[in-house]
Symmetry: C2
Subunit: 529 residues, 2 copies
């Protein structure tokens, strides 16, 4: 039943489940044009692109009827052809710079009435003459705004207003993003950034519709849920059905111009208590009866469109789901998440690596440096004395003369995460990993916001950090990302606005006392040294 070339049979949902599909397979689904027609397709696409940019907006019918061809052909193009096409778009259909310069000269020669556009001006000031002089200013500014649009803007606008066009724009941006990874050309970057700006403006959160996804939805929609579930992969038909049936909810944001394909979706479990591990959420048996549930646990949020990355579609999503669940089930009073900490291990390993380097540096090599950059400036006690001792004890046999930080680094990067298979190791690593995790979540910032992307998402939405859970996710991915630790964020209905506001204005991260206790351990023990 599997079509060649990585494509899948749309209706064979159960077959699909047997060999888990990757998101890329869906994208490639229609890219099976015979090789000999590719050149024609490319020529067609180029022709349509040129025509649709050249034709004035009120005479577009003939161009528009070929839009379907365009998208079909585009999907069939190879990477190399797509690159060629995007480069042509970026370079040939760019800003008309002669026109821009001409208008600028004109604008600069205009007599702009004093004080116009200033902050302090009061409404209604200036007389009829003032207004008269301003008419030319407004007109030229409008022309300038038009002239500063790259010509490819017309193509984007045309695509946006056509059914199916927004999906094509999403594909174009996905391709641009992957091209830019390899080749950061200014023209492609400008194209990508213009397209992103337009997508942000066209994908207003207010136009997104909340849809409860159920087992009664179409296979083609459910297929996408399976393909794009990024947090906790769906392993079987049974697994999918479980996530949509008793004690579970799944909600997606749909955009009317991209039908049948949620742009982002969230999975909810209805439970007695806030779960500590994803295992108990995914394989609870029997499930909590819905009338006995008091907690709605958000255990997975995934976005589905690579071409919409960096565009915040999740705004309002959690708020709206909470409203919906409360209306349907007033006995649910706790709204919490069980979330991954995707950046924790990466941060910790790089921290360990730099500290190992510093601690191994010959003190003499530091001598020539000014005091401000001497090792003491950067050196940090990542591990507490007690923690170091336990780590070395647990691994005594085979560590040689490595320092504890090295041992820890080696353990965390060892293949197949051997450390998780030994009780001794687990109990030696738990205290430092939990403590450092609290520090990572509460203290590590980037431009005043939480360094961890998931933390930042929930804090922005008004949640607080409630609890971190040892071995909350013992899957390979969980161990790899965060040493198996998961975190519960809690949404307190009466605090959402307040929390969001103080996070925005001061960067303050609200957390429970249990989280702050981890930070205190550091301080008290450190000062004993």
């Amino acid at each position: 039943m599997m079509a060649k070339g990585g494509g899948i049979n749309r209706n064979a949902l159960s077959v699909l489940m047997r060999s888990r599909m990757r998101a890329s397979a869906i994208a490639k689904e229609t890219s099976m044009n015979p090789v000999d027609s590719v050149e024609n397709a490319m020529a067609d696409v180029m022709r349509w692109m040129r025509a649709s940019i050249a034709v004035p907006t009120d005479r577009t019918e003939s161009v528009d009827s070929n839009l379907r061809n365009f998208s079909q052909n585009y999907v069939g193009l190879s990477q190399a052809h797509r690159r060629e096409l995007l480069l042509a778009l970026a370079k040939v259909h760019d800003v008309n710079r002669e026109r821009v310069r001409e208008l600028m000269q004109q604008y600069l020669s205009l007599d702009v009435p004093q004080g116009s556009g200033g902050e302090g001006e009061e409404a209604g000031s200036g007389g009829v003459e003032h207004e008269g002089a301003m008419a030319a200013v407004y007109r030229t500014e409008r022309s300038l705004r038009d002239a500063l649009k790259p010509k490819y803007a017309v193509l984007f606008e045309r695509l946006n207003e056509h059914p199916g066009g927004l999906k094509v724009l999403e594909m174009l941006r996905a391709d641009l993003l992957s091209l830019l990874v390899k080749d950061n050309m200014p023209s492609l970057r400008a194209l990508e950034s213009y397209l992103k700006e337009k997508l942000v403006s066209w994908l207003s959160p207010a136009a997104l519709e909340l849809h409860q996804i159920t087992w009664d939805d179409s296979a083609s929609l459910l297929e996408k849920i399976v393909a794009y579930e990024a947090v906790h992969p769906i392993r079987s038909l049974l697994d999918l059905k479980r996530r949509l049936s008793v004690g579970r909810r799944c909600f997606g944001y749909l955009h009317p111009a991209i039908p049948g394909e949620p742009l982002i979706f969230i999975e909810v479990a209805l439970l007695k208590d806030v779960a500590r591990s994803i295992q108990e959420v995914l394989w609870d048996d029997p499930p909590t009866p819905e009338h006995a549930a008091t907690c709605a646990l958000f255990y997975s949020i995934s976005s589905t469109q690579p071409g919409l990355s960096g565009i915040n579609l999740g705004k309002f999503l959690i708020k709206r789901v909470i409203e919906l669940v409360r209306r349907e089930m007033p006995h649910i009073t706790v709204f919490a998440t069980l979330s991954p900490i995707p950046g924790y291990m990466q941060w910790l390993l790089s921290k360990l690596a730099s500290q190992i380097k510093l601690s191994k540096m010959d003190p003499k090599t530091m001598e020539g440096l000014p005091e401000s950059v001497s090792s003491s400036t950067f050196k940090e006690n990542i591990l507490l004395v007690e923690e170091e001792k336990r780590i070395l004890d647990a691994t005594k046999e085979d560590t040689g003369d490595k320092i504890a930080m090295e041992v820890l680094h080696d353990l965390l990067t060892s293949t197949r995460h051997q450390w998780t298979k030994s009780e001794t190791m687990l109990s030696a690593l738990q205290p430092p990993l939990m403590r450092l995790c609290a520090r990572y979540l509460l203290k590590e910032k980037k431009r005043g916001k939480a360094l961890d992307a998931v933390a930042n998402f929930h804090l922005q939405n008004g949640a607080m950090v409630e609890r971190i859970n040892w071995m909350g996710d013992n899957s390979d991915k969980g161990i790899h990302q965060s040493g198996g630790i998961m975190v519960n964020y809690v949404y307190r209905l009466d605090k959402i606005e307040e929390n969001a506001q103080s996070y925005f204005s001061t960067g303050h991260i609200h957390a429970s006392s249990s989280l702050y206790k981890y930070l205190e351990i550091t301080e008290s023990l450190s000062s004993d040294r």
Copy 2:
């Protein structure tokens, strides 16, 4: 049950029907703030506006939570206060012109690589250095695009991304449009034109959802259908129910960000034949059984939002309704309209007035003029000799020495349309009014497109002019607009694309032979003179 101040009780649909409501009543519905709170509301609105423009986009939560207040307060403001507010927006929160000039100087001093942005350039030309020099150009253009945005753009963007915000933007534009009628200030015009541009971009036809409106829809939605039906007013509850039940369909375009309020809606009657008069459509009894219908007749299209006027929301609407009806009822093979001709009388009366003037001019006064502007250049035989004779015969007694064109002009502008009450008059007027109507529809153009707005709408969509119908609408409004004549446009499924395309490219209006016959009458009789 009627609230004071023009407001209506939302749920009292049947009460509403007894005293027909006007669209303006819905808009005023919530404007019943006590007078003493108006000043506070104004202050609040101003404060929120300032704040929401000043706060950076990623720190907006606190501002956004006050959005609901803003819209409630705005609705409560008087015309004068709204004017004050819009003026403040236009003037105080305008383009930062100092910044624009600064960036322009910077841009003009940049070294733009040769040929960049030209039409002829091939993709991939220029080397790494070229790209390097371009980076600064792209960056400055981006900054210029940002700087050329008026500061109020931020307010619009914020409103657009919030549930309910699009509706507020629509209200702002409606107010701007009505202010501009009285006072065409450049600053307000610039504000309106910027807002229109944004609304066009945000209200993509691809994001509109086709919804069949039925008797099961909410009273608050049906209330809007009653209020906004602009073509053939709905007179009673029975009339409304009739338009939604057997043999009838009603479809609306809904935007997800403006829930419960169709932006535009279309009414369809399922009939045996293409109807000739609106009377037989609205009061057919018994209705054609649906299985016996072969024709879907579009008899009314109305848009509901004054603030979206001039924005083409009807694109795709007819096409999508046709697709839907065909799928549901394959036995329907004819898709036609019964449409008003809103501009006919206005055109005819002004034509008559100018010809009367010309024909009364003393030939001597023309002598001094160059031949090219002599009366013969402008003079036209609007009426044929035979037609003139019949008009004068029918009204012999009381016309004195008036010429036939004057008599016709007087009849058409007489109060209460007396001419429609006399059989003699009707039969005297029918031939010239029908003939001139054909000419108006097929020959009168403005910038290459049909002068009549409704004709232009259907021709753009790919319809052809099929038939004109004497006394197709004998209501006061019908007589006043078009001498009671209505027109059938027909959508031939196999010709839609072709017709639309040739209308766009050459301005050719497709019409049936019966329409063209009217034009031939003119020519053959004229040449007899």
